[in-house]
Symmetry: C2
Amino acid sequence: MEDLKLALPVRIMSIYEFQEMMRRLYIKRDSDRGIEGTYDWLVEEVEELGEALKGEDKEATEKEFADVIAWLASLANIVEIDLEKAAVSKYHNLCPKCQQTPCNCTF
Amino acid sequence: MEDLKLALPVRIMSIYEFQEMMRRLYIKRDSDRGIEGTYDWLVEEVEELGEALKGEDKEATEKEFADVIAWLASLANIVEIDLEKAAVSKYHNLCPKCQQTPCNCTF
């Protein structure tokens, strides 16, 4: 029960709400930096994730995953794309290529 | 009201549930491909997003955003990291650097 209570606060964040939170925190900085600069930062965070994956530090790797989704949400904010809608429109219980679950693509 | 009904199905996908959906769809393929190959695919999707951002096709850009978060979730699955927990642990209504909302970092 204690575990469940501890787990609850991090089990209810929709992709949409995460993106809105990033908007509340960073929209001015993100807008000032612009699309190209924010994209470059996303690329840098993906590179840092790649480095973390080569190591053994799981907590550091978790932080890099957090940074990648955070910068992806920031980038979506400044280009006015709804990340949850985009994600669920393409991926919703079926593989968009073979239309099966689990994916049964043959390539 | 019609808009709200249309919007509802894509407003309730938590980051956790999206990652679990990706697990149901792709865990075997992702595991077979491995961490390095899946990371390389994530990098490729980020590059495709960068190309889409240079164009004018918003629908294509949305699909690239979808692919990046999908591959990020796939990668998190095979390294056994909870993407929502990681994201919310670092970003939760305060900038992790300046501890303010909105972010007021001076750099």
